[in-house]
């Protein structure tokens, strides 16, 4: 059903808080995962059980430090637990779907609330903004309405957001539509009929501009994306992946923050990649010099093999990189091609099997038969 969350006095955030509070008070769920503003003013996801604390909830804060799918995983993965709602950005929802396939999260008894995302800032940028008078949320929502989304002057959206071609809510139980919406008339939402009934919503058509505005935003960002892909592809071709990642300090932050990298311990931190001192000496002798720590390019290439089919392009890896390497751009650019080979779109459908755990007998029948 399509409905509208009533907005009073133009306070969209308050309206959303009210919606979440309703979920708790009407016992639709027992707790909500939602970005909260800490007493010191930073923003972090939290699992909120007390509706009273939802006053600190701020689902529209344009800052993204981590991908919330990472935190939804642990709180949903096993029974027993109560029913939960999770407020997610589209890229977080897609990551969640991939994690569900990897059995690192569960959709059972989970109400996903996917909110259109006009764009986010990095944590440092956000902190600077906060120190300098805060974020102009109104301008952002106005941009979402028209499709002329621009970052605040003097700032830029996160690299991943600038080239995000899926900023709009797709999938999920509840979709909160900001694109093209006149929020003064209420926030358009799409939600299951039984939930709408439980919450006392009556049907209300969203205004018809959403598709048009989404198209506008997507096409602008796709253009940026393609330019950046072309640029990074050229670099990969010229410098090789070892060149692009030459400044890597092997902090593993990209892997640690990646919502898809779900391993308890990365292979590259396991004894398999611990070597005897004499071994390093051998390698040094073999090539004349040996880069330390060992296996840096192997790490990135292996990580590509392990997760690039599931890369949903949230870009937290880039933000996490202290060496300012274009990790997200590389992974997205490579991922686009590899995903296309298998006609796989990560996060599209939870029923879609991961490409490497399935196969068809009659595919690529020419491969391997060459003379």
């Amino acid at each position: 059903m399509q409905a509208r969350i009533p907005v009073e006095g133009g306070d969209v955030v308050a309206a959303l808080r009210g919606f979440l509070r309703d979920l708790l008070e009407k016992e639709v769920v027992e707790a909500v995962v939602v970005p909260m503003v800490t007493p010191s003013g930073a923003v972090t996801p939290a699992l909120v059980a007390d509706p009273a604390l939802l006053d600190a909830a701020d689902p529209l804060t344009p800052v993204m430090g981590l991908n919330a799918a990472r935190v939804v995983g642990p709180v949903t993965i096993r029974e027993p637990r109560g029913k939960i709602a999770a407020v997610l950005r589209p890229c977080e929802y897609r990551a969640l779907i991939e994690l569900v396939k990897l059995q690192q999260a569960s959709l059972d008894d989970l109400v996903t609330v996917v909110v259109d995302c006009p764009g986010t800032y990095t944590v440092p940028d956000y902190e600077t903004m906060r120190a300098n008078g805060g974020v102009d949320r109104e301008a952002l929502l106005a941009g979402a309405r028209t499709g002329e989304v621009a970052p605040q002057e003097g700032y830029a959206f996160r690299d991943a957001c600038q080239m995000c071609e899926r900023p709009h809510a797709e999938g999920g139980d509840v979709q909160v539509w900001l694109f093209g919406a006149d929020l003064s008339a209420g926030i358009p939402v799409s939600l299951p009929d039984d939930l709408a009934e439980q919450l006392g919503f009556s049907p209300a058509e969203a205004d018809g501009r959403r598709a048009e505005v989404v198209e506008k935003v997507v096409s602008a960002r796709t253009q940026v994306r393609d330019e950046r892909f072309a640029e990074i592809r050229q670099r990969l071709e010229e410098e090789g992946i070892e060149g692009v990642f030459a400044a890597c300090i092997r902090c593993h932050n990209c892997m640690t923050n990646c919502p898809i990298c779900y391993c308890k311990t990365c292979l590259f931190k396991s004894p398999i990649f611990e070597h005897e001192p004499i071994q390093y000496m051998n390698w040094a002798r073999r090539k004349g010099a040996f880069r330390l720590p060992a296996d840096t390019t192997l790490f990135h290439l292996t990580r590509l093999n392990h997760m690039v089919l599931s890369c949903i392009g949230c870009g937290v890896c880039t933000d996490a990189c202290p060496a300012d390497l274009p990790v997200g751009r590389v992974f997205r650019a490579v991922g686009q091609e590899v995903q296309a080979v298998f006609d796989y779109v990560p996060g599209r459908d939870v029923e879609e099997p991961l490409p490497l755990v399935t196969f068809k007998e009659d595919e690529w029948t020419e491969v391997g038969e060459e003379e």
Partner: protein, 142 residues
């Protein structure tokens, strides 16, 4: 100055049941092929980890050959089908990452195809000679 012809190094990951046995058959049939290939025996082409292939390439191997049973003949039912997807993905990643994916060959060679094994090694050796050494061989900063 004496110049010696470039002799490529090929690391081969062969499945125990088909291609490794096919390589043995090439031996028992005394079918000659270039000595450039170094064989590692695995139980199934479906157990060839991309990391092994990447490691070989980054270490400087000029080629990597992965040999498995023909589709439908896998000793473990479907290992080769999974290998096919995995190697296709790996090669696409290599290509996108600016590496030479054509140094990686996947071939189905049965236990009775000693000749095909020898031919494959010969062709791969010739191909790699033409192509030249793996640049990674000289690259210390990887």
């Amino acid at each position: 100055m004496e110049t010696t012809e470039f002799e490529p190094k090929i690391v081969a990951f062969l499945c125990n049941w088909c291609t490794y046995t096919g390589a043995d058959l090439a031996g028992t049939s005394r079918i000659q092929y270039p000595p450039n290939v170094r064989i590692i025996r695995l139980m199934c082409s479906g157990s060839v980890d991309p990391t092994y292939v990447l490691k070989a390439l980054l270490d400087g191997a000029d080629g990597v050959l992965i040999g498995g049973c023909h589709p439908g003949d896998c000793h473990y039912q479907s290992g080769n089908y999974k290998a096919r997807r995995r190697i296709i993905a790996l090669k696409e990643i290599l290509k996108q990452a600016g590496m030479e994916e054509d140094r990686v060959w996947l071939r189905w060679i049965s236990a009775s195809e000693g000749q095909r094994f020898a031919d494959t090694v010969r062709k791969m050796t010739e191909f790699l000679k033409e192509k030249g050494p793996n640049p990674m061989k000289r690259e210390w900063a990887v």
